[in-house]
């Protein structure tokens, strides 16, 4: 398989963005159509890649491409995907057309920028998102990681609410803080690799094996981890998120929280864990503590938000707590669960933000919960999707998010009984804030002024249906995800030298796969 599939995946949206950007300013509709077309082509290519992906392959990375880029620093353009990257790329490729479709009119009223600009930025971002998950060279990853900031920054800052510039700057500065710390650690890693192997390298495969002095590992780990913790965002590095989510357009928020922030958790599982196993083990208790704090902190804050978008942001923070928790308990259930959760959260975030976005757009941009009541009676379809999104967010069994959340909690429980038990309590608060939101906005007597808002239109329904269907269908058939994730997680577990705890009693009925050892 010599065809450079992954590069193609990046190039197509990039070309699309250039085409869109070159269209005349007045042809807004054409720009949208072209953008949608390119994103759909990318989705098609992604599906083609996914179909060719072999879950049982002995090779960790598939579709590998490697070309020297800056040999002076041991940097190469190396891409390749394992199961984890594959599902996240698929998530990105799925959400982009949905966001384009849902955001069809989002940029029309934007104060700051042109219509085609918005869609061109989305496509640039898609290329970068695919790149960041596909990179197998740490430097290349870093480049994508940082460059992603630029389109996102413009998407928030040019096409957002009244406070968008503050939010965009806060987002950027926060991210840059993380990015620069990571840069320092990255360079440190390179220098160490040069000392250990003779020639410095950024190749992920080569870096996984090398022995790093434990004290140094701890420092380097921190550099990477803080960058990822800011991106993810983990408590207490989260305060950029509510502002960004509140000010950005719903589509931007979907891509930002649904996909971009996953780079943080992806980075933790791929880079922090595998390159710095000893440090990961050392810091695991602290990280777990932060994650658990984040679960409750986000949930409690979500409970008293007056603004829908801020509520979603805090709820995401809570969810990211779960994801991080799953990663750092070093069990295959926890880690697979985290990856599933990443996908599930992407879908549920998309559903929430887009549905809320449709609602907000019908009320001239107010996202205050108190401005809504009884929407269900005038827009039942909208309310229905909102409910599905809410249920996905509270991880109702049968939804994909349940699979993720349960596995994460199970993984945590296996390793640290009390951590798992305490974190499980979080699901009650989640239910409370999600249903409180639904109750206040969708039910009750109709708020005056909402009479004429009208239900969802065909385009909007078309955008939401795939998200809802995927959430539910994958909830009952998660195998397409878990089949590709599990081998990758096993690799991670092997790299860090962790094994699942054995059950107290080997039951006769239990699966005995690998149990005889």
């Amino acid at each position: 398989m010599n065809y450079p599939w992954l590069t193609t995946l990046m190039v197509v949206p990039l070309v699309g963005s250039i085409v869109v950007a070159l269209l005349p300013r007045a042809r807004g509709v054409l720009a949208k159509q072209v953008a949608l077309l390119f994103s759909l082509v990318t989705l098609g290519l992604t599906i083609a890649v996914a179909l060719q992906f072999s879950a049982t392959s002995a090779e960790r990375f598939q579709f590998v491409e490697s070309h020297p880029w800056i040999p002076a620093f041991g940097i190469s353009y190396s891409v390749g995907i394992d199961g984890i990257s594959l599902v996240l790329i698929a998530l990105a490729a799925t959400l982009v057309p949905i966001v384009i479709l849902a955001g069809w009119n989002e940029a029309d009223t934007a104060a700051g920028g042109s219509v085609k600009g918005y869609f061109a930025l989305i496509l640039v971002l898609e290329a970068l998102m695919i790149g960041v998950f596909a990179a197998t060279d740490v430097f290349l990853f870093y480049v994508f990681f940082e460059v992603m900031l630029v389109p996102t920054y413009f998407m928030i800052g040019r096409f957002g609410g009244p406070q968008r510039s503050y939010a965009a700057v806060k987002f950027l500065i926060y991210s840059l803080v993380g990015g620069l710390l990571m840069l320092a650690a990255l360079i440190g890693l390179y220098v160490v690799s040069a000392q250990v192997t003779g020639t410095g390298t950024f190749d992920f495969g080569a870096l996984v094996g090398i022995e790093i002095d434990p004290d140094l590992q701890k420092l380097l780990f921190l550099g990477f981890f803080i960058a990822f913790a800011i991106k993810a965002p983990l408590w207490p590095f989260h305060t950029w998120l509510p502002d960004a989510a509140a000010e950005a357009r719903p589509g931007t928020s979907v891509l930002l929280i649904g996909v971009l922030d996953k780079v943080g958790t992806f980075g933790m599982i791929r880079y922090c864990l595998e390159i710095f196993p000893a440090a990961s083990e050392f810091y695991a208790p602290i990280v777990i503590a932060l994650a658990v704090i984040g679960i409750f902190y986000g949930a409690l804050l979500a409970l008293r938000q007056h603004d829908m978008k801020r509520l979603f942001a805090y709820s995401s923070m809570s969810h990211f707590g779960f994801i991080t928790l799953g990663i750092f308990v070093f069990t295959s259930q926890g880690q697979s669960g985290s990856v599933v959760y990443m996908v599930a959260h992407g879908l549920s975030t998309a559903a929430l933000f887009l549905t809320a976005g449709f609602l907000i757009a019908r009320r001239h941009g107010s996202s205050l919960i108190s401005d809504y009541s009884g929407v269900n009676s005038v827009a039942p379809v909208l309310a229905g999707f909102f409910l599905v999104a809410a249920l996905s967010s509270l991880a109702l069994p049968g939804m994909l998010s349940f699979v993720g959340e349960f596995l994460v909690l199970l993984g945590a429980f296996e390793r640290y009984l009390w951590v798992g038990a305490v974190a499980t309590i979080g699901i009650v608060i989640t239910a409370a804030y999600v249903l409180r939101l639904y109750q206040k906005t969708m039910t009750g007597p109709l708020k005056p002024g909402l009479e004429g808002i009208g239900d969802l239109k065909g385009r909007e329904v078309t955008a939401l249906v795939p998200v809802a269907v995927l959430s539910i269908v994958l909830g009952f058939f998660p195998a397409p995800l878990t089949d590709v994730i599990n081998p990758a997680v096993d690799q991670v577990m092997t790299s860090i030298g962790a094994t699942d705890p054995e059950p107290e009693i080997r039951s006769a009925g239990a699966t005995t796969e690998g149990g005889s050892s």
């Binding site: 880029w69 800056i70 940082e146 040019r158 965009a168 500065i173 803080v177 320092a184 220098v191 040069a194």
Partner: protein
């Protein structure tokens, strides 16, 4: 009476210097003898031709590695590389200075520098459409000085080169057509402080001469090995020489001229100066530190360490509260000097290579930055007040995009040359044990990002107001300069390997 043996001089090796010097003299003659009408075209042909010729020779010289003129001039890899960079950037600078379409009145220089601002005299000159063409000999002399400066292998030549480079620049700084008072003030400050700092340099040179019995770098280095015990004299000498050079690179606390001069000087001159003087001065500083007093490395490292940290932090922090674009960029150039110093301190071949990379990247980005500044105008000339930049992204998307590119490069965002430069110096520093300096550098980068981003915010996220400036449509001169800078900023960010290869081939300073 010993017999006088003239030193052997490899004329071809120093041909770029000679070409520029010759061109400078011819240029003076042109001023004297060519009729007014024909001066500008003649000068332009002369300047561009000589620079291109010098550049061609420089390229032809690649691989040369020799010391000539009785040890006074070293032509080695770094020298040639710096020459090439200086010449290319000077060429871009010359193009900017040649621009005359963006200002309806003419070019950006006072028609008669000595005239009283606003006087009848001056107005008459303006009415007649007289143009200042003295700037061209000045430019050529300054370039000559820079070329010598980076090749100087003894303190005397270095001092002379310093002055040959600086004196024309002092004058150029004072020649702005608009805002004459500011321009003159900038010239005065630049001159007084420049002279002051060269006095320090010179006295330091005297002390080093007293210590080693020679002004040659190699001799000084040998003396340090021969008699390492004599401390104070050499320490004083090194300190004063370094102070003189740190002034030119605008390191804290010798930086205070920078914002005033950058702001007051005509923007095209600022562009030239910000890019080339920094390169030349760092070239000289590197040679002094690595060749002459490399043996004292452990002595000057702590001092430079502190200076670097201060430079990065003060430059970045003060830039935050600036309200004038040029002034902000001046503080940014202070901060950038600190980053380059990180690479300098590494004192390894990687340190040298990374500093050079950073310098070159910085040079192109900077000249591009100021080129954009020169285009953003309102009725009273250049609009350097930040308020006038609000909403520029809406009014002139392309200009704003290019400017953002430069800002992102200065901020060190990947896929720009600034990032690779930062990456290179940080790598060199960490490899030689400068981790904490890198961490300070990271902190400073974060602070610096703040003000770069602020400008982008202003351009894109603010609504245009009545005060928003408009972008002048430049002639081919500025367009070429701007495009080259932008292309190189991206090219060096995306495909830096060729320059890294060149740097590797260039090797280290010859001794």
């Amino acid at each position: 009476m010993t017999e006088f043996t003239p030193p052997e001089i490899n004329y071809y090796a120093i041909a770029p210097i000679l070409i520029m010097f010759g061109a400078a003299i011819v240029s003076v003659l042109v001023e004297a003898f060519v009729p007014r009408r024909g001066r500008r075209p003649t000068q332009l042909v002369l300047v561009i031709g000589s620079i291109v010729a010098a550049l061609a020779v420089t390229i032809d010289l690649r691989g040369t590695r020799l010391v000539t003129g009785a040890g006074a001039v070293a032509v080695d890899g770094p020298t040639l590389l710096l020459w090439a960079a200086l010449l290319v950037i000077s060429l871009l600078g010359a193009l900017l200075m040649a621009e005359r379409t963006i200002d309806p009145v003419g070019d950006s220089f006072a028609p008669r520098a000595s005239a009283l601002p606003g006087s009848d005299d001056e107005q008459q000159f303006a009415r007649r459409g007289y143009l200042q063409t003295e700037v061209w000999p000045f430019l050529l002399f300054a370039i000559t000085g820079m070329l010598v400066f980076v090749a100087a292998n003894d303190l005397l030549i270095m001092f002379v080169a310093l002055e040959v480079m600086s004196l024309p620049l002092y004058l150029l700084a004072g020649m702005a057509r608009r805002r004459r008072l500011l321009s003159q003030e900038a010239a005065l400050k630049y001159f007084i402080l420049g002279a002051f700092s060269s006095a320090f340099f010179l006295y330091g040179a005297a002390l080093l001469y007293g210590y080693s019995g020679s002004v040659g770098f190699v001799a000084i280095s040998d003396a340090l090995t021969a008699k390492p015990s004599e401390g104070t004299l050499v320490a004083l000498g090194v300190a004063l020489v370094i102070v003189g050079l740190l002034f030119k690179v605008s390191a804290v606390p010798f930086h205070q001229w920078t914002p005033d001069v950058y702001q007051g000087a005509p923007t095209s001159v600022t562009a030239l100066m910000a890019a080339t003087v920094k390169i030349a001065a760092f070239g000289a500083l590197l040679r002094v530190l690595y060749v002459a007093v490399g043996g004292l490395r452990w002595d000057w490292t702590p001092m430079l360490w502190i200076i670097a940290a201060l430079t990065m932090l003060v430059g970045s922090i003060v830039a935050i509260s600036q309200t004038d674009v040029k002034r902000m960029l001046a503080y940014s150039s202070v901060a950038q000097a600190g980053f380059i110093l990180i690479g300098v301190i590494a004192a390894t071949p990687e340190g040298l290579a990374s500093s050079l990379f950073y310098l070159i990247a910085y040079g192109f980005t900077t000249i591009g930055t100021f080129a954009v500044v020169s285009l953003v105008r309102n009725a009273s000339g250049e609009a350097t007040s930040m308020a006038a930049w609000a909403g520029l992204g809406r009014k002139s998307p392309l200009t704003a995009a290019v400017f953002s590119l430069f800002l992102l490069s200065l901020a060190g965002i990947p896929l720009t040359s600034g990032f690779v430069g930062k990456f290179a110096v940080f790598t060199a520093a960490i490899a030689s044990g400068g981790t904490w300096l890198v961490i300070i550098g990271v902190v400073a980068s974060i602070i610096a990002a703040f003000f770069y981003v602020r400008l982008i915010v202003l351009m894109y996220f603010a609504k245009p107001t009545e005060d928003t400036a408009s972008v002048a449509i430049p002639s081919a001169f500025t367009t070429i300069a701007l495009t080259t800078a932008a292309v190189l900023t991206i090219a060096l960010g995306v495909f830096p390997q060729w320059l890294l290869d060149v740097l590797e081939q260039a090797g280290v300073f010859i001794r």
